[in-house]
Symmetry: C2
Subunit: 179 residues, 2 copies
C-alpha cells in the first residue's frame, strides 16, 4: 500500500555524504557535510550541490568561489555528523572533529586529509532554490586512494558512507554486474 510522504527527499536516499571544505579570505578553512550533490556533466566536468542559504559555507563559497569536495569512509561518521550539525561561524570544526587539512593542488580551499577521494572545484554559477542555493562548479582536479578503486569504481574496502536520513547512515554491499 502506497502512502503520501512528507519527507519526499528521503526517497532519494541513501546518498553518498561528502565533506565540503571552504576557506575565508584570510585562509581560515571550514568544513560542512552534505549529500545533496550530483555530477551534472562529464565534459566539461561539472557538479551541482545544494547548500542552505543561511549557512556559513554558502557565504565562503560565494566570496572565494573555490571549494573542495571530500569523500569520507564510514569510519568518519562521527566527524561527518558534527560537521553537518554545527556552524563554522561559531566553532572550529577541525578542532572538535580531528579532521585535518592539506593544501589542494589547484584551488585555495584545502582538502581533508583523512578522506579517500577529493574533487577540487571552482564555482561557475548558482541558482536559488527555496531555502538553498544550488552551486554549479567545475571539477579542476579529481583524485582518490588508488587501492580503493577498481575500474574507477569504489571497491568494498572504500566503505563509502551513505546518508539514509536523519541520524541514520549506511554503507554499500559488494557490487554486482548487470548481465
Amino acid at each position: 500500500m502506497k502512502k503520501d510522504v512528507e519527507s519526499f527527499h528521503f526517497l532519494l536516499h541513501p546518498r553518498p555524504v561528502v565533506l565540503v571544505c571552504s576557506v575565508d579570505k584570510d585562509g581560515r578553512p571550514n568544513v560542512m557535510a552534505c549529500s545533496w550533490i550530483t555530477p551534472i556533466s562529464e565534459e566539461p566536468p561539472l557538479i551541482a550541490l545544494s547548500l542552505w542559504r543561511r549557512g556559513y559555507t554558502h557565504q565562503l563559497i560565494e566570496a572565494v568561489k573555490e571549494f573542495t569536495v571530500n569523500i569520507p569512509s564510514a569510519d568518519l561518521v562521527k566527524a561527518v555528523w558534527i560537521a553537518g550539525t554545527r556552524s563554522g561561524r561559531r566553532t572550529d570544526k577541525f578542532a572538535i572533529t580531528g579532521l585535518k587539512t592539506q593544501p589542494a593542488k589547484k584551488v585555495s580551499a584545502p582538502i581533508i586529509e583523512q578522506c579517500i577521494g577529493h574533487l577540487e572545484c571552482k564555482l561557475v554559477d548558482y541558482v536559488k532554490a527555496g531555502e538553498c542555493n544550488v552551486y554549479i562548479a567545475e571539477v579542476v582536479a579529481a583524485y582518490a586512494d588508488e587501492e580503493l578503486l577498481v575500474n574507477n569504481v569504489w571497491n568494498e574496502r572504500a566503505n563509502v558512507l551513505l546518508h539514509a536520513g536523519g541520524k541514520y547512515f549506511t554503507t554499500p554491499q559488494a557490487c554486482f554486474e548487470v548481465k
Copy 2:
C-alpha cells in the same frame, strides 16, 4: 597513495537510480534511468536532475513540463539497465522491459507500477551544463510503499538500487544510527 581519476563522477557514486517517466503530447509514455539527481530544497520541495541534451526524455520534459521520478528496488536492475541504455525514440521500452505504467495523481506523465516510491514533478527551470541540461522541478506529490519505510527512511527490505558505475550496481547494508 592518491592518483588522478578521469571518471571524477564515479567518486560521487554509488547513488540511487531512478526511473524517470515522461510523456509526449499524444500521451505516449517513455522511461529513462538516471542517478544524477538530488533533492535541492525542502520548502518548496524541489529536485534537480541532469539529462543528456540529445536524449528523448529531455525533449519530452521540455515539451510537456511534467514527469515522474520512480524508485526501483534492485529486483528491477535488468529493466533499469535497458531503460538507461536504449532510446525511447526508436524503442517502446515498456514492451521490452515489462515495466507497466499507472496514472499519476497530479501530472500527465504516468508512474511505474513496479516501483516502490514515486515523485510527481513539474518543471520549474533548467540550466545548461556541458552536454546535459539540469532540470529543476517542484515535487507536487510523493508517496511510497508504507511497509518499506521506517520514520520516512527506506528499510532493508526496500533493497534500493544504487549505481556504482558502468555495469556495476549495489544495494545498501542495514542502517546504523550515529551516536
